[in-house]
């Protein structure tokens, strides 16, 4: 299991390749990448992601450990960036590895739901309309009830 919280960019392709090639008892790998999306109505100049050093790593580790135990993962990777980002930049990724695909899919879905509202990150958008903190959605919180 690997958790990385970093300012610099990561190479999504290389990370996926390394993760998928690491073990021979794995039968399924699921990967997800979150990308800074350009809005349809205005211009997003940049996004600033703030986080809580120390707690961020602890929260991500807790979430990844829970997923690993619940779905018997053979491996799990979470990378999340902070600092300034622009549309098209990759914000974060998760990768899960299991013997069969259902566990890897479910664990990745669970990881994303929990990362959304239980990992201490906050996004501020700087657009042609001004600067604003991204508000959490009610649907993010209710998504946790699925699990």
């Amino acid at each position: 299991m690997q958790i990385r919280v970093q300012k610099h960019a990561f190479d999504y392709g290389a990370e996926c390749e390394r993760f998928a090639a690491a073990r021979q008892d794995v039968g399924a790998v699921v990967t997800f990448c979150g990308i800074v999306r350009a809005p349809q109505d205005d211009i997003l100049y940049r996004m600033e992601i703030e986080h809580y050093p120390g707690m961020t790593e602890r929260a991500l580790t807790d979430i990844a450990q829970t997923a690993s135990q619940r779905w018997g993962l053979l491996d799990c990777l979470v990378i999340h960036r902070f600092g300034p980002l622009v549309p098209g930049d990759r914000i974060m990724m998760v990768a899960t590895a299991s013997r069969h695909r259902a566990d890897a899919f479910a664990a990745a879905d669970f990881l994303m739901d929990y990362l959304k509202s239980r990992a201490p990150f906050w996004k501020k958008e700087f657009t042609s309309d001004g600067a604003e903190w991204v508000a959490a959605k009610d649907s993010d919180e209710s998504a946790l009830k699925r699990w």
Binding site: G34, E50, Y52, G54, M55, R58, H80, I91, M92, M112, L115, K116, S117, R118, A119, P120, F121, W122, K123, K124, W133, V134, A135, A136, D140, E141
Partner: protein
């Protein structure tokens, strides 16, 4: 008791600093918030809507009525938006 109090996102902006060390006798998060609110308007403004405030005590998410008697660090922030 000496306590490090941290603020993130718009709470940090409204209060105007990311971190401060304070002396307090507050026993719970709620009591600490009440104490901070009386300090200055910027604190009262930041804590005017507690539905929009989340708290971590020693880096663990907690409810507002959580005890802080043995805490070293209390952090206030809006609902998280990771991913």
């Amino acid at each position: 008791m000496t306590l490090d109090v941290l603020y993130f996102a718009w709470l940090r902006e409204r209060i105007g600093l990311p971190k401060e060390r304070i002396e307090t006798h507050a026993q719970t998060v709620s009591a600490l918030i009440d104490e901070l609110r009386t300090r200055e308007d910027r604190y009262a403004l930041a804590f005017s809507d507690l539905d929009a405030v989340r708290v971590a005590v020693d880096q663990e998410l907690c409810d507002l009525d959580a005890p802080i008697t043995n805490a070293r660090e209390v952090a206030f922030f809006p609902p998280m938006t990771g991913g």
